[in-house]
């Protein structure tokens, strides 16, 4: 009897064809430009609804969930806010693998400012330009903050382009703060980068067991790259010429080389042995355990330093504050500081009622009084009135650092190739910091490889190597 065999073969073929059709069907409707959000918020549902965010696992994520569930539910009692978190190193992948599947289990992705280019180019998030025009008071923000967390193409000059489209609104502002031991180096923070290095050197010599400096050096996420970019900015360097899309000869010019030399040959020797894989948590741990004279970390991640349960510097917050000082970054040839923080965006693959709710949440969140409440809850707002409010300035000793740093911020490249550019920089800076590469070679390799990525955009075959 032959036909059962044929049935088996037929079933196999049908299965393969079906799976192929299903897989190919995934691309139907795939768009390479972002769909537009309506200018007016559509009618909101009265049914129970969970509004899901995705972020990485750090204190502001917990603060946001608690804040939103306490405050937003006063206005929308049928809504529960859930902030899903992933490890920092998986953050980009967690969002973009779901974008790739054209289905997301989150409604509001919290994108790093540099992720916007990739998400917009792939059509993963909504264009909210019309919504912003109708619902948000754009004049209430420092234009660069509004641009950094939402505009594409990027605001290269620190000024917002009024004609550019907006794809997000600020959720959390951030930058680096210098954390220094007042009891070891004095109450006055170093004013210049050179003074900072000298103070760290002196402190390390005078205090055995305490390292002069602690900063991000890891090769995961954007850790080591942000460190180099910060020193590069302070020493007058540039990351690229955005108009000419030129990196080779720009990042590795004389200023760039000087910055790399300062980082590897002057700063690295003042760090603890084995700190070559340190990121946010490790730097905080070193400060909390009294193992560093001067440290650099993101402001939004510094709250735990004042918790007596996590610190050996004091039994009360006041006692810890007697030893720890927070200051803006020292200046050198320029006063640039890194732009951190993230914006809120709306997933293009969320259901219409959830997209409507997300837009409503964004409108609610950007109100002046809510921004002040967010500041009091531990967030870093972006509205100018909230930044100068006592609610924000009194919420933490580092908040004034942020307010003073806003006009000094510089971001990285916000282009679709960002993930590869940052990986190249991270691995090479990490190699230089850990002695796996000579600093000059590392910087020249960054320039060459990054230029290769920009030049190969659109090249067929072998992309990504």
């Amino acid at each position: 009897m032959r036909y059962p065999k044929r049935i088996g073969l037929l079933a196999t073929a049908v299965m393969l064809v079906a799976t192929t059709v299903v897989a190919c069907g995934g691309d139907e409707g795939a768009s390479t430009s972002s769909p537009k959000a309506p200018a007016d918020i559509p009618e909101l549902t009265k049914d129970p609804l969970t509004l899901s965010f995705i972020w990485f696992d750090w204190p502001p994520a917990k603060a946001l969930e608690a804040f939103a569930n306490a405050e937003y539910t006063k206005e929308r009692s049928n809504v529960t806010v859930k902030v899903n978190v992933v490890p920092n190193a998986n953050w980009h992948d967690a969002m973009f693998t779901q974008f790739a599947a054209r289905k997301t289990d989150f409604d509001i992705p919290i994108l790093d400012s540099q992720h916007i280019g990739e998400a917009v180019t792939n059509g993963n998030i909504l264009d909210i330009t019309d919504f912003v025009k109708k619902n948000i008071d754009v004049n209430a923000y420092n234009p660069y903050l509004l641009a950094a967390y939402g505009q594409f193409p990027q605001a290269e000059t620190g000024k917002r382009d009024e004609n550019a489209s907006l794809y997000g609104l600020p959720l959390l502002g951030d930058t680096w703060t210098m954390i220094y031991r007042k009891d070891l180096i004095g109450d006055t923070p170093p004013a210049t980068w050179d003074e900072m290095i000298a103070a760290a050197q002196k402190c390390q010599t005078e205090n055995p067991g305490v390292s002069g400096l602690a900063f991000h050096q890891a090769n995961g996420s954007d850790a080591a790259a942000v460190t180099y970019n910060t020193v590069n900015g302070v020493y007058g360097g540039n990351l690229w010429d955005s108009k000419a899309r030129k990196i080779e000869g720009v990042i590795n010019d004389a200023a760039g080389q000087e910055a790399m030399d300062v980082l590897v040959n002057k700063m690295k020797p003042l760090t603890a042995a084995g700190s070559g894989n340190w990121f946010i948590d490790e730097v905080n741990a070193a400060v909390a355990q009294g193992k560093a004279c001067i440290a650099f970390n993101w402001i939004a991640a510094s709250g735990g330093l004042l918790d007596p349960e996590q610190s050996t510097l004091g039994k009360t917050r006041e006692e810890i504050l007697g030893k720890l000082g927070f200051a803006t970054l020292p200046k050198q040839k320029t006063d640039l500081v890194p732009l951190g923080g993230m914006g809120m965006h709306v997933s293009a693959y969320s259901s219409p009622e959830k997209q409507a709710e997300a837009l409503n949440f964004m409108k609610w969140f950007e109100q002046a009084d809510i921004q002040k409440k967010w500041a009091a809850a531990g967030g870093v707002p972006a509205r100018t009135d909230a930044l100068s409010s006592p609610e924000f300035l009194n919420a933490g000793p580092f908040n004034k650092v942020y307010a003073d740093s806003v006009s000094r911020m510089r971001d990285m490249w916000n282009v679709p190739e960002y993930a590869r550019l940052i990986d190249i920089e991270n691995t090479n800076v990490n190699a230089a910091l850990n002695g796996a590469k000579d600093p000059k070679t590392a910087l020249n390799d960054i320039a060459k490889e990054q230029q290769g990525v920009l030049d190969s955009a659109g090249k067929k075959g072998g992309g990504g190597l």
Binding site: M1, P4, I7, G8, A11, T12, M15, L16, T19, T20, A23, D27, A30, S31, T32, A89, H92, D93, F96, T97, A100, R102, E118, T121, N122, G123, N124, A218, N219, G220, A272, A273, G274, S275, G276, N277, A285, A286, E417, A419, R420, D423, T427, N428, N430, A431, A432, L433, N434, G435, A436, K437, A442, V453, K460, G461, G462, G463, G464, L465
Partner: protein, 315 residues
């Protein structure tokens, strides 16, 4: 009830002539029933394994990107050419080779030694074997995380112990010359028990009368090991080596947790690099070609190895 002897002696085709059991549809023959039972598993296998493999093969000839979407344009062998000629890939291949050779050699020597020692012990053999197997039962991610803490240069217990005996701090995970060794050590800690288990099975299966005969001939311990134990256990050990080499070749999790491929890219293995190509730039076509090439390498090497094993068996 049929005679059991005649049942086993009948050709398979004739089994279908058996009349259906009471209650079964007349149209449902044994053959159809077999197909019905096998189909779910077969369809699952096709959907979850065969189709993705074929799909990856198709994508490997295109410039498709999962995030950019749009149609996949055929670039034929350009992805393969780019991968095979890339200095970045050559570097990762060399790192992977060092890792595979280092880890598998160490695990084989240690695994066999431990198995040999355990096999000579009569009391407590079961308990010892079970204890040695514990690392193998843990998730590699968990193993990576606790080794990361233990190997931390500042706060780790390993450096603390070294310090207590007057030795200096070692930067286990952040120096080029120690990071790969650390990966090999951690992998060895976890997977030596696998080799040990296979070797122990081989050692237990060696007929005792061979040793008794050797004793009568007053053969030395070394002579007995060299001429009886090793030749009989060797083929089994080689199969364990094959399994471990394939596993080590596709190492990803320990690298991801322990070193993230660093310092720089000095511990980036081929699998880790594929991950970066696939998810950092979402170059799905290139990543598919990379994956297909890795599978091909494993298949070819495994085939050559199996031929050697068969030859060994015939000899």
């Amino acid at each position: 009830m049929s005679d059991p002897v005649s049942l086993t002696d009948q050709p398979v085709q004739e089994a279908s002539t058996t009349p259906p059991a009471p209650g079964r549809s007349r149209h449902l023959s044994d053959r159809l029933l077999t197909v019905a039972f096998i189909s779910p598993a077969l369809l699952l296998l096709l959907a979850m394994s065969v189709f993705p493999l074929l799909w990856a093969l198709y994508l490997s000839f295109t410039d498709y990107s999962a995030t950019r979407g749009g149609p996949a344009t055929f670039v034929w062998f350009e992805n393969f050419t780019a991968i095979l000629t890339s200095a970045q890939v050559h570097l990762r291949a060399f790192t992977t080779l060092l890792y595979v050779v280092g880890a598998v050699t160490l695990q084989t020597v240690l695994g066999f030694s431990i198995a040999y020692l355990i096999s000579r012990r009569v009391r407590g053999r079961g308990v010892l074997t079970t204890l040695f197997l514990v690392p193998m039962m843990l998730s590699p991610v968990v193993v990576g995380l606790f080794w990361r803490f233990m190997l931390d240069a500042q706060f780790g217990v390993i450096n603390s112990m070294l310090g207590s005996i007057g030795l200096g701090q070692v930067e286990w995970l952040t120096k080029q010359n120690t990071a790969l060794i650390s990966l090999i050590v951690v992998d060895t800690w976890q997977w030596t028990p696998f080799i040990m288990l296979i070797a122990l099975a081989g050692l237990t299966a060696v007929p005792k009368y061979l040793y008794e005969a050797a004793s009568i001939d007053r053969a030395s311990e070394w002579f007995r090991f060299r001429t009886i134990t090793l030749p009989l256990v060797w083929p089994l050990l080689l199969i364990a080596v094959l399994f471990r080499a394939i596993e080590a070749f596709r190492l990803f999790d320990l690298v991801y947790i322990l070193t993230s491929g660093g310092p720089g890219v000095s511990t980036e293995t081929l699998s880790f690099h594929v991950y970066k190509v696939a998810f950092l730039g979402f170059n799905t076509g290139t990543a598919s070609a990379y994956g297909i090439l890795m599978v091909l390498i494993v298949i070819v090497l495994a085939q050559l190895y199996m031929r050697y094993l068969n030859k060994l068996k015939e000899d």
